[in-house]
Protein backbone atom coordinates (compact mmCIF):
# COMPACT_ATOMS: atom_id res chain seq x y z
CA UNK A 1 0.00 0.00 0.00
CA UNK A 2 1.19 3.48 -0.77
CA UNK A 3 3.03 5.37 1.93
CA UNK A 4 0.54 8.18 2.53
CA UNK A 5 -2.38 5.80 2.52
CA UNK A 6 -2.05 5.36 6.29
CA UNK A 7 -2.45 9.10 6.73
CA UNK A 8 -5.36 9.13 4.35
CA UNK A 9 -7.12 6.35 6.26
CA UNK A 10 -6.41 8.06 9.59
CA UNK A 11 -7.76 11.34 8.26
CA UNK A 12 -10.78 9.63 6.75
CA UNK A 13 -11.59 7.81 9.97
CA UNK A 14 -11.05 10.87 12.10
CA UNK A 15 -13.31 12.85 9.80
CA UNK A 16 -10.72 15.46 8.95
CA UNK A 17 -10.81 15.12 5.14
CA UNK A 18 -12.53 17.91 3.27
CA UNK A 19 -15.65 16.93 1.36
CA UNK A 20 -13.89 16.64 -1.99
CA UNK A 21 -11.12 14.41 -0.64
CA UNK A 22 -13.63 12.40 1.29
CA UNK A 23 -15.75 11.80 -1.81
CA UNK A 24 -12.68 10.75 -3.80
CA UNK A 25 -11.61 8.37 -1.05
CA UNK A 26 -15.06 6.82 -0.84
CA UNK A 27 -14.93 6.23 -4.59
CA UNK A 28 -11.74 4.31 -4.04
CA UNK A 29 -13.31 2.32 -1.23
CA UNK A 30 -16.12 1.26 -3.53
CA UNK A 31 -13.68 0.12 -6.18
CA UNK A 32 -10.95 -1.46 -4.03
CA UNK A 33 -12.20 -4.24 -1.75
CA UNK A 34 -8.79 -4.68 -0.17
CA UNK A 35 -8.70 -1.04 0.83
CA UNK A 36 -12.29 -1.22 2.07
CA UNK A 37 -11.38 -4.23 4.25
CA UNK A 38 -8.39 -2.40 5.68
CA UNK A 39 -10.49 0.66 6.53
CA UNK A 40 -13.17 -1.53 8.10
CA UNK A 41 -10.50 -3.27 10.18
CA UNK A 42 -9.09 0.03 11.44
CA UNK A 43 -12.56 1.35 12.12
CA UNK A 44 -13.31 -1.76 14.18
CA UNK A 45 -10.14 -1.34 16.21
CA UNK A 46 -10.77 2.32 16.77
CA UNK A 47 -14.36 1.69 17.86
CA UNK A 48 -13.32 -1.11 20.21
CA UNK A 49 -10.72 1.04 21.89
CA UNK A 50 -12.38 4.42 21.99
CA UNK A 51 -12.80 5.02 25.71
CA UNK A 52 -15.79 7.27 25.25
CA UNK A 53 -17.74 4.88 23.06
CA UNK A 54 -21.06 3.83 24.62
CA UNK A 55 -19.79 0.26 24.89
CA UNK A 56 -16.66 1.23 26.76
CA UNK A 57 -18.62 3.52 29.05
CA UNK A 58 -20.87 0.58 29.83
CA UNK A 59 -17.82 -1.63 30.40
CA UNK A 60 -16.33 0.91 32.79
CA UNK A 61 -19.60 0.99 34.73
CA UNK A 62 -19.81 -2.80 34.82
CA UNK A 63 -16.22 -3.10 36.03
CA UNK A 64 -17.02 -0.76 38.88
CA UNK A 65 -20.15 -2.67 39.83
CA UNK A 66 -18.37 -5.97 39.52
CA UNK A 67 -15.76 -4.90 42.08
CA UNK A 68 -18.51 -4.74 44.69
CA UNK A 69 -19.04 -8.45 44.37
CA UNK A 70 -15.83 -10.20 45.23
CA UNK A 71 -17.32 -13.51 46.34
CA UNK A 72 -20.52 -15.46 45.70
CA UNK A 73 -21.65 -14.68 49.24
CA UNK A 74 -21.66 -10.97 48.41
CA UNK A 75 -24.58 -11.63 46.07
CA UNK A 76 -27.69 -12.45 47.98
CA UNK A 77 -30.12 -14.03 45.54
CA UNK A 78 -32.96 -13.40 47.95
CA UNK A 79 -32.59 -9.68 47.29
CA UNK A 80 -33.83 -10.15 43.79
CA UNK A 81 -37.19 -10.46 42.21
CA UNK A 82 -36.01 -12.19 39.09
CA UNK A 83 -38.41 -14.35 37.11
CA UNK A 84 -39.45 -16.87 39.71
CA UNK A 85 -39.11 -14.03 42.21
CA UNK A 86 -42.23 -15.08 44.03
CA UNK A 87 -40.41 -18.23 44.94
CA UNK A 88 -37.46 -16.21 46.11
CA UNK A 89 -39.68 -14.08 48.35
CA UNK A 90 -41.07 -17.32 49.66
CA UNK A 91 -37.51 -18.38 50.42
CA UNK A 92 -36.97 -15.33 52.58
CA UNK A 93 -40.00 -16.16 54.65
CA UNK A 94 -39.21 -19.83 54.70
CA UNK A 95 -35.53 -19.33 55.46
CA UNK A 96 -36.22 -18.42 59.05
CA UNK A 97 -38.34 -21.50 59.58
CA UNK A 98 -36.01 -23.79 57.73
CA UNK A 99 -32.85 -22.45 59.26
CA UNK A 100 -34.32 -22.89 62.68
CA UNK A 101 -35.35 -26.41 61.72
CA UNK A 102 -31.79 -27.00 60.53
CA UNK A 103 -30.37 -25.72 63.79
CA UNK A 104 -32.76 -27.89 65.74
CA UNK A 105 -31.62 -30.83 63.69
CA UNK A 106 -28.05 -29.96 64.46
CA UNK A 107 -28.90 -29.91 68.10
CA UNK A 108 -30.45 -33.35 67.83
CA UNK A 109 -27.32 -34.94 66.44
CA UNK A 110 -26.11 -36.39 69.74
CA UNK A 111 -28.99 -38.84 69.66
CA UNK A 112 -27.61 -40.23 66.46
CA UNK A 113 -23.95 -39.78 67.26
CA UNK A 114 -23.28 -41.01 70.76
CA UNK A 115 -19.83 -39.49 70.71
CA UNK A 116 -21.38 -36.06 70.98
CA UNK A 117 -22.70 -34.65 74.17
CA UNK A 118 -25.33 -32.19 73.01
CA UNK A 119 -28.60 -32.30 74.89
CA UNK A 120 -31.49 -33.33 72.65
CA UNK A 121 -33.99 -30.59 71.91
CA UNK A 122 -37.37 -30.80 70.27
CA UNK A 123 -37.45 -29.63 66.67
CA UNK A 124 -38.55 -26.03 66.48
CA UNK A 125 -40.80 -25.08 63.67
CA UNK A 126 -43.79 -22.84 63.81
CA UNK A 127 -45.36 -20.11 61.72
CA UNK A 128 -44.25 -17.63 64.33
CA UNK A 129 -40.61 -18.51 63.85
CA UNK A 130 -38.63 -15.28 63.78
CA UNK A 131 -36.79 -14.32 60.60
CA UNK A 132 -33.32 -15.74 60.07
CA UNK A 133 -31.63 -12.47 61.04
CA UNK A 134 -33.11 -12.71 64.53
CA UNK A 135 -31.97 -16.23 65.15
CA UNK A 136 -28.87 -17.01 67.18
CA UNK A 137 -26.04 -16.79 64.69
CA UNK A 138 -24.89 -20.34 65.00
CA UNK A 139 -26.27 -23.00 67.23
CA UNK A 140 -23.03 -24.90 67.22
CA UNK A 141 -21.19 -22.08 68.95
CA UNK A 142 -23.01 -22.49 72.22
CA UNK A 143 -23.20 -26.25 71.81
CA UNK A 144 -19.69 -26.74 70.62
CA UNK A 145 -18.58 -30.35 71.07
CA UNK A 146 -15.37 -31.02 72.96
CA UNK A 147 -12.10 -31.38 71.14
CA UNK A 148 -12.12 -35.19 71.31
CA UNK A 149 -15.32 -35.39 69.28
CA UNK A 150 -14.34 -32.61 66.88
CA UNK A 151 -13.41 -34.80 63.87
CA UNK A 152 -16.80 -36.50 63.91
CA UNK A 153 -18.60 -33.27 64.67
CA UNK A 154 -16.86 -31.65 61.71
CA UNK A 155 -18.37 -34.24 59.37
CA UNK A 156 -21.82 -33.17 60.53
CA UNK A 157 -21.28 -29.44 60.51
CA UNK A 158 -23.92 -27.78 58.33
CA UNK A 159 -23.17 -25.58 55.34
CA UNK A 160 -25.08 -22.43 56.31
CA UNK A 161 -25.81 -21.36 52.75
CA UNK A 162 -27.47 -24.66 51.93
CA UNK A 163 -29.24 -24.96 55.25
CA UNK A 164 -31.40 -21.97 54.44
CA UNK A 165 -32.69 -23.70 51.32
CA UNK A 166 -33.54 -27.06 52.88
CA UNK A 167 -36.92 -28.27 51.76
CA UNK A 168 -37.50 -25.24 49.59
CA UNK A 169 -39.00 -25.33 46.14
CA UNK A 170 -37.69 -22.54 44.01
CA UNK A 171 -40.48 -22.88 41.47
CA UNK A 172 -43.75 -21.71 42.84
CA UNK A 173 -45.63 -21.76 39.57
CA UNK A 174 -45.21 -24.46 36.99
CA UNK A 175 -43.95 -27.50 38.86
CA UNK A 176 -42.49 -28.72 42.12
CA UNK A 177 -40.78 -31.81 43.48
CA UNK A 178 -42.26 -34.32 45.82
CA UNK A 179 -39.41 -36.35 47.24
CA UNK A 180 -40.60 -39.49 49.02
CA UNK A 181 -37.18 -40.93 49.66
CA UNK A 182 -34.95 -40.03 51.35
CA UNK A 183 -37.08 -38.18 53.85
CA UNK A 184 -35.72 -34.83 54.90
CA UNK A 185 -32.94 -35.41 57.41
CA UNK A 186 -33.15 -39.20 57.08
CA UNK A 187 -30.30 -41.32 58.36
CA UNK A 188 -28.73 -43.93 56.10
CA UNK A 189 -26.65 -46.71 57.55
CA UNK A 190 -23.33 -47.75 56.14
CA UNK A 191 -22.98 -51.40 55.25
CA UNK A 192 -19.47 -52.49 54.31
CA UNK A 193 -18.55 -48.90 53.57
CA UNK A 194 -21.55 -48.20 51.33
CA UNK A 195 -25.09 -46.95 51.63
CA UNK A 196 -28.00 -48.05 49.51
CA UNK A 197 -29.04 -44.65 48.26
CA UNK A 198 -32.57 -44.50 46.93
CA UNK A 199 -34.10 -41.32 45.59
CA UNK A 200 -37.74 -41.52 44.65
CA UNK A 201 -40.52 -39.05 44.16
CA UNK A 202 -42.44 -37.18 41.54
CA UNK A 203 -42.32 -33.92 39.65
CA UNK A 204 -45.78 -32.51 40.20
CA UNK A 205 -47.44 -29.93 38.04
CA UNK A 206 -46.37 -29.18 34.49
CA UNK A 207 -43.51 -31.62 34.07
CA UNK A 208 -40.64 -29.84 32.35
CA UNK A 209 -40.09 -31.52 29.02
CA UNK A 210 -36.92 -29.88 27.79
CA UNK A 211 -35.36 -29.15 31.12
CA UNK A 212 -32.29 -31.07 32.27
CA UNK A 213 -32.20 -31.53 36.00
CA UNK A 214 -29.01 -32.56 37.67
CA UNK A 215 -29.12 -34.37 40.99
CA UNK A 216 -26.06 -33.70 43.08
CA UNK A 217 -24.99 -34.93 46.47
CA UNK A 218 -22.58 -32.73 48.35
CA UNK A 219 -20.75 -33.62 51.52
CA UNK A 220 -20.64 -30.91 54.16
CA UNK A 221 -17.22 -29.81 52.94
CA UNK A 222 -17.69 -26.10 52.32
CA UNK A 223 -14.85 -25.88 49.83
CA UNK A 224 -16.10 -28.76 47.73
CA UNK A 225 -19.52 -27.20 47.70
CA UNK A 226 -18.21 -23.80 46.64
CA UNK A 227 -16.13 -25.37 43.89
CA UNK A 228 -19.09 -27.45 42.80
CA UNK A 229 -17.47 -30.78 43.52
CA UNK A 230 -20.32 -33.08 44.50
CA UNK A 231 -19.57 -36.58 45.71
CA UNK A 232 -22.19 -37.80 43.26
CA UNK A 233 -23.86 -36.20 40.29
CA UNK A 234 -26.39 -37.60 37.90
CA UNK A 235 -29.11 -36.41 35.55
CA UNK A 236 -32.62 -36.88 36.89
CA UNK A 237 -34.66 -39.09 34.62
CA UNK A 238 -38.37 -38.95 35.11
CA UNK A 239 -41.20 -40.90 33.54
CA UNK A 240 -43.91 -39.13 31.53
CA UNK A 241 -46.03 -38.90 34.67
CA UNK A 242 -43.14 -37.16 36.45
CA UNK A 243 -42.18 -40.09 38.69
CA UNK A 244 -38.49 -40.62 39.23
CA UNK A 245 -36.39 -43.28 40.89
CA UNK A 246 -32.66 -43.36 41.31
CA UNK A 247 -30.99 -46.22 43.14
CA UNK A 248 -27.32 -46.52 43.68
CA UNK A 249 -24.77 -47.90 46.11
CA UNK A 250 -22.63 -45.01 47.26
CA UNK A 251 -19.35 -45.24 49.11
CA UNK A 252 -19.78 -42.44 51.62
CA UNK A 253 -18.19 -41.62 54.96
CA UNK A 254 -20.28 -40.93 58.02
CA UNK A 255 -21.47 -37.34 57.95
CA UNK A 256 -23.98 -34.82 56.73
CA UNK A 257 -24.90 -34.73 53.04
CA UNK A 258 -26.95 -32.38 50.92
CA UNK A 259 -29.16 -33.33 48.04
CA UNK A 260 -29.42 -30.58 45.42
CA UNK A 261 -31.54 -30.58 42.25
CA UNK A 262 -30.17 -28.05 39.83
CA UNK A 263 -31.48 -26.77 36.52
CA UNK A 264 -28.52 -27.57 34.31
CA UNK A 265 -29.25 -24.72 31.97
CA UNK A 266 -29.67 -21.87 34.38
CA UNK A 267 -27.73 -23.27 37.33
CA UNK A 268 -30.72 -22.51 39.49
CA UNK A 269 -31.31 -24.75 42.49
CA UNK A 270 -34.71 -26.30 42.25
CA UNK A 271 -34.76 -28.38 45.41
CA UNK A 272 -32.44 -28.78 48.37
CA UNK A 273 -32.55 -31.30 51.21
CA UNK A 274 -30.19 -33.21 53.44
CA UNK A 275 -29.56 -36.61 54.93
CA UNK A 276 -27.13 -38.23 57.33
CA UNK A 277 -24.89 -41.22 56.94
CA UNK A 278 -23.85 -43.16 59.99
CA UNK A 279 -22.08 -46.39 60.78
Amino acid sequence: MENNLDDLITDYLSNTLDSEARFAFEQRLAAEPELAARVAFERDISAALNASSPENKLRANLRQLSEKYDAPESLDPSLGEAPGGKAQRWWILAAGVLLLGGLAYWNLRPQEKPTMSLPPQPPLESPSTPPAEELPKNGDEKNKPDSKTQPIAAAFKPIPKLESYIGSQTRSGDFHFRVDQPKSGATMTLQTGQVNFRLSGKIEGATPSSQSIQVMIFSNNQQNFENSRPVESQMLESKPDGAFLLQKKLALSPGLYYLVFEDRQSGEWLFVDKFLVKV
Binding site: E55, L62, P72, P77, Q265, S266
Partner: protein, 200 residues
Protein backbone atom coordinates in the same frame (compact mmCIF):
# COMPACT_ATOMS: atom_id res chain seq x y z
CA UNK B 1 -46.59 -0.75 32.92
CA UNK B 2 -43.46 -1.91 31.16
CA UNK B 3 -42.51 -5.53 31.47
CA UNK B 4 -39.63 -5.93 33.94
CA UNK B 5 -37.54 -7.84 31.39
CA UNK B 6 -37.78 -4.92 29.00
CA UNK B 7 -36.83 -2.58 31.84
CA UNK B 8 -33.60 -4.55 32.19
CA UNK B 9 -32.93 -4.31 28.46
CA UNK B 10 -33.50 -0.57 28.59
CA UNK B 11 -31.24 -0.26 31.61
CA UNK B 12 -28.42 -1.93 29.70
CA UNK B 13 -28.98 0.29 26.68
CA UNK B 14 -28.98 3.38 28.92
CA UNK B 15 -26.10 2.24 31.12
CA UNK B 16 -28.30 2.76 34.16
CA UNK B 17 -26.10 2.05 37.20
CA UNK B 18 -28.91 1.39 39.66
CA UNK B 19 -30.64 -1.16 37.51
CA UNK B 20 -27.37 -2.68 36.36
CA UNK B 21 -26.59 -3.29 40.00
CA UNK B 22 -29.94 -5.01 40.36
CA UNK B 23 -29.17 -7.09 37.27
CA UNK B 24 -25.89 -8.16 38.89
CA UNK B 25 -27.57 -9.18 42.12
CA UNK B 26 -30.36 -11.06 40.44
CA UNK B 27 -28.73 -12.76 37.53
CA UNK B 28 -25.09 -13.26 38.42
CA UNK B 29 -25.97 -16.03 40.94
CA UNK B 30 -27.74 -18.27 38.39
CA UNK B 31 -25.01 -17.58 35.84
CA UNK B 32 -22.41 -18.56 38.42
CA UNK B 33 -24.40 -21.71 39.13
CA UNK B 34 -24.31 -22.63 35.46
CA UNK B 35 -20.57 -21.96 35.25
CA UNK B 36 -19.88 -23.99 38.39
CA UNK B 37 -21.50 -26.94 36.69
CA UNK B 38 -19.09 -26.43 33.83
CA UNK B 39 -15.85 -25.97 35.73
CA UNK B 40 -16.02 -22.20 36.21
CA UNK B 41 -15.05 -20.10 39.19
CA UNK B 42 -16.68 -16.96 40.51
CA UNK B 43 -14.12 -14.72 38.78
CA UNK B 44 -14.90 -16.44 35.48
CA UNK B 45 -18.60 -15.85 36.10
CA UNK B 46 -18.01 -12.14 36.62
CA UNK B 47 -16.07 -11.88 33.34
CA UNK B 48 -18.64 -13.88 31.39
CA UNK B 49 -21.45 -11.86 32.95
CA UNK B 50 -19.88 -8.61 31.81
CA UNK B 51 -19.38 -9.93 28.29
CA UNK B 52 -22.97 -11.17 28.16
CA UNK B 53 -24.26 -7.75 29.19
CA UNK B 54 -22.18 -6.13 26.44
CA UNK B 55 -23.59 -8.59 23.91
CA UNK B 56 -27.12 -7.68 25.05
CA UNK B 57 -26.20 -4.01 24.72
CA UNK B 58 -25.34 -4.46 21.03
CA UNK B 59 -27.94 -7.05 20.21
CA UNK B 60 -30.81 -5.10 21.75
CA UNK B 61 -29.74 -1.91 19.98
CA UNK B 62 -30.28 -3.48 16.58
CA UNK B 63 -33.34 -2.40 14.64
CA UNK B 64 -36.24 -4.78 15.03
CA UNK B 65 -34.87 -6.38 18.20
CA UNK B 66 -37.45 -8.42 20.07
CA UNK B 67 -36.94 -10.20 23.34
CA UNK B 68 -38.27 -13.66 22.58
CA UNK B 69 -37.41 -15.31 25.91
CA UNK B 70 -37.43 -14.28 29.56
CA UNK B 71 -34.52 -11.97 30.29
CA UNK B 72 -32.88 -14.52 32.59
CA UNK B 73 -32.90 -17.25 29.92
CA UNK B 74 -31.68 -14.77 27.34
CA UNK B 75 -28.79 -13.47 29.44
CA UNK B 76 -27.75 -16.86 30.78
CA UNK B 77 -28.06 -18.41 27.34
CA UNK B 78 -25.59 -15.84 26.03
CA UNK B 79 -23.32 -16.43 29.03
CA UNK B 80 -23.44 -20.15 28.48
CA UNK B 81 -22.47 -19.76 24.83
CA UNK B 82 -19.55 -17.48 25.76
CA UNK B 83 -18.35 -19.83 28.51
CA UNK B 84 -18.56 -22.98 26.41
CA UNK B 85 -16.51 -21.29 23.71
CA UNK B 86 -13.87 -20.43 26.27
CA UNK B 87 -13.85 -23.97 27.59
CA UNK B 88 -13.48 -25.40 24.13
CA UNK B 89 -10.59 -23.07 23.39
CA UNK B 90 -8.81 -23.88 26.62
CA UNK B 91 -9.83 -27.53 26.37
CA UNK B 92 -10.34 -27.45 30.12
CA UNK B 93 -13.12 -29.96 30.05
CA UNK B 94 -15.09 -31.78 27.47
CA UNK B 95 -18.29 -29.93 26.84
CA UNK B 96 -21.53 -30.88 25.27
CA UNK B 97 -23.09 -29.19 22.27
CA UNK B 98 -23.91 -25.52 22.81
CA UNK B 99 -27.54 -25.98 21.97
CA UNK B 100 -28.13 -29.36 23.53
CA UNK B 101 -30.12 -28.04 26.41
CA UNK B 102 -29.36 -24.35 26.47
CA UNK B 103 -31.06 -21.23 25.27
CA UNK B 104 -31.20 -21.25 21.50
CA UNK B 105 -28.62 -18.72 20.36
CA UNK B 106 -29.71 -17.84 16.83
CA UNK B 107 -27.41 -16.75 14.03
CA UNK B 108 -28.06 -13.08 14.67
CA UNK B 109 -27.10 -13.35 18.31
CA UNK B 110 -24.18 -15.61 17.48
CA UNK B 111 -22.91 -12.92 15.13
CA UNK B 112 -23.07 -10.40 17.96
CA UNK B 113 -21.25 -12.69 20.37
CA UNK B 114 -18.42 -13.21 17.88
CA UNK B 115 -18.24 -9.47 17.24
CA UNK B 116 -17.86 -8.84 20.96
CA UNK B 117 -15.23 -11.53 21.22
CA UNK B 118 -13.33 -9.91 18.38
CA UNK B 119 -13.39 -6.58 20.17
CA UNK B 120 -12.12 -8.28 23.29
CA UNK B 121 -9.25 -9.65 21.24
CA UNK B 122 -8.43 -6.12 20.06
CA UNK B 123 -8.31 -4.89 23.63
CA UNK B 124 -6.18 -7.81 24.70
CA UNK B 125 -3.63 -7.14 21.96
CA UNK B 126 -3.64 -3.45 22.75
CA UNK B 127 -2.38 -4.20 26.26
CA UNK B 128 0.65 -5.97 24.75
CA UNK B 129 1.92 -2.74 23.20
CA UNK B 130 4.51 -0.59 24.94
CA UNK B 131 3.29 2.13 27.28
CA UNK B 132 4.13 4.93 24.83
CA UNK B 133 2.23 3.27 22.02
CA UNK B 134 -0.75 2.60 24.25
CA UNK B 135 -0.84 6.21 25.41
CA UNK B 136 -0.56 7.62 21.94
CA UNK B 137 -3.03 5.27 20.28
CA UNK B 138 -5.55 5.68 23.07
CA UNK B 139 -5.62 9.40 22.44
CA UNK B 140 -5.98 8.84 18.71
CA UNK B 141 -8.82 6.42 19.24
CA UNK B 142 -10.41 8.93 21.59
CA UNK B 143 -10.21 11.41 18.69
CA UNK B 144 -8.04 13.98 20.35
CA UNK B 145 -6.62 16.50 17.87
CA UNK B 146 -3.16 15.60 16.67
CA UNK B 147 -1.60 18.93 17.64
CA UNK B 148 -2.85 18.57 21.21
CA UNK B 149 -1.40 15.09 21.49
CA UNK B 150 1.91 16.31 20.06
CA UNK B 151 1.97 19.26 22.40
CA UNK B 152 1.16 17.21 25.49
CA UNK B 153 3.71 14.53 24.66
CA UNK B 154 6.41 17.00 23.68
CA UNK B 155 6.68 15.74 20.08
CA UNK B 156 6.25 17.39 16.71
CA UNK B 157 3.08 16.73 14.74
CA UNK B 158 5.06 14.77 12.16
CA UNK B 159 6.67 12.59 14.76
CA UNK B 160 3.29 11.83 16.33
CA UNK B 161 1.91 10.89 12.92
CA UNK B 162 4.81 8.54 12.26
CA UNK B 163 4.68 7.03 15.71
CA UNK B 164 0.95 6.56 15.37
CA UNK B 165 1.50 4.71 12.11
CA UNK B 166 4.12 2.44 13.68
CA UNK B 167 2.04 1.71 16.78
CA UNK B 168 -1.12 1.07 14.79
CA UNK B 169 0.82 -1.18 12.44
CA UNK B 170 2.16 -3.14 15.38
CA UNK B 171 -1.30 -3.53 16.86
CA UNK B 172 -2.79 -4.70 13.58
CA UNK B 173 0.03 -7.18 13.17
CA UNK B 174 -0.53 -8.58 16.67
CA UNK B 175 -4.22 -9.00 15.98
CA UNK B 176 -3.84 -10.56 12.56
CA UNK B 177 -1.17 -12.98 13.71
CA UNK B 178 -3.47 -14.40 16.34
CA UNK B 179 -5.29 -17.45 14.97
CA UNK B 180 -8.43 -16.41 16.87
CA UNK B 181 -8.80 -13.40 14.61
CA UNK B 182 -9.10 -15.50 11.46
CA UNK B 183 -11.45 -17.89 13.21
CA UNK B 184 -13.64 -15.07 14.50
CA UNK B 185 -13.88 -13.23 11.20
CA UNK B 186 -14.87 -16.41 9.45
CA UNK B 187 -17.48 -17.15 12.16
CA UNK B 188 -18.78 -13.59 11.85
CA UNK B 189 -19.03 -13.91 8.11
CA UNK B 190 -20.83 -17.22 8.36
CA UNK B 191 -23.22 -16.04 11.11
CA UNK B 192 -23.94 -12.91 9.10
CA UNK B 193 -24.69 -14.98 6.03
CA UNK B 194 -27.04 -17.21 8.00
CA UNK B 195 -28.76 -14.23 9.58
CA UNK B 196 -29.26 -12.51 6.24
CA UNK B 197 -29.38 -15.21 3.55
CA UNK B 198 -30.37 -12.68 0.92
CA UNK B 199 -27.22 -10.73 1.50
CA UNK B 200 -29.09 -7.95 3.23
Amino acid sequence: MENKDLTYIRAILNNDSTLLDEIYRRFLPPLFGMLRRNGGRFEDAKDVFQEAIVVVFHHAARPGFQLTAPFQSYLIGIGRFIWLRQLKKNARIEVTSDREDGFDVDADLEHQIFESEKQRLFREKFTLLGKDCQQLLQRFFDREPLNRIANDMGYTDDYVKKKNKVCKGKLMELIQKDTRYGELTSHIYSAKTQAAPNGE
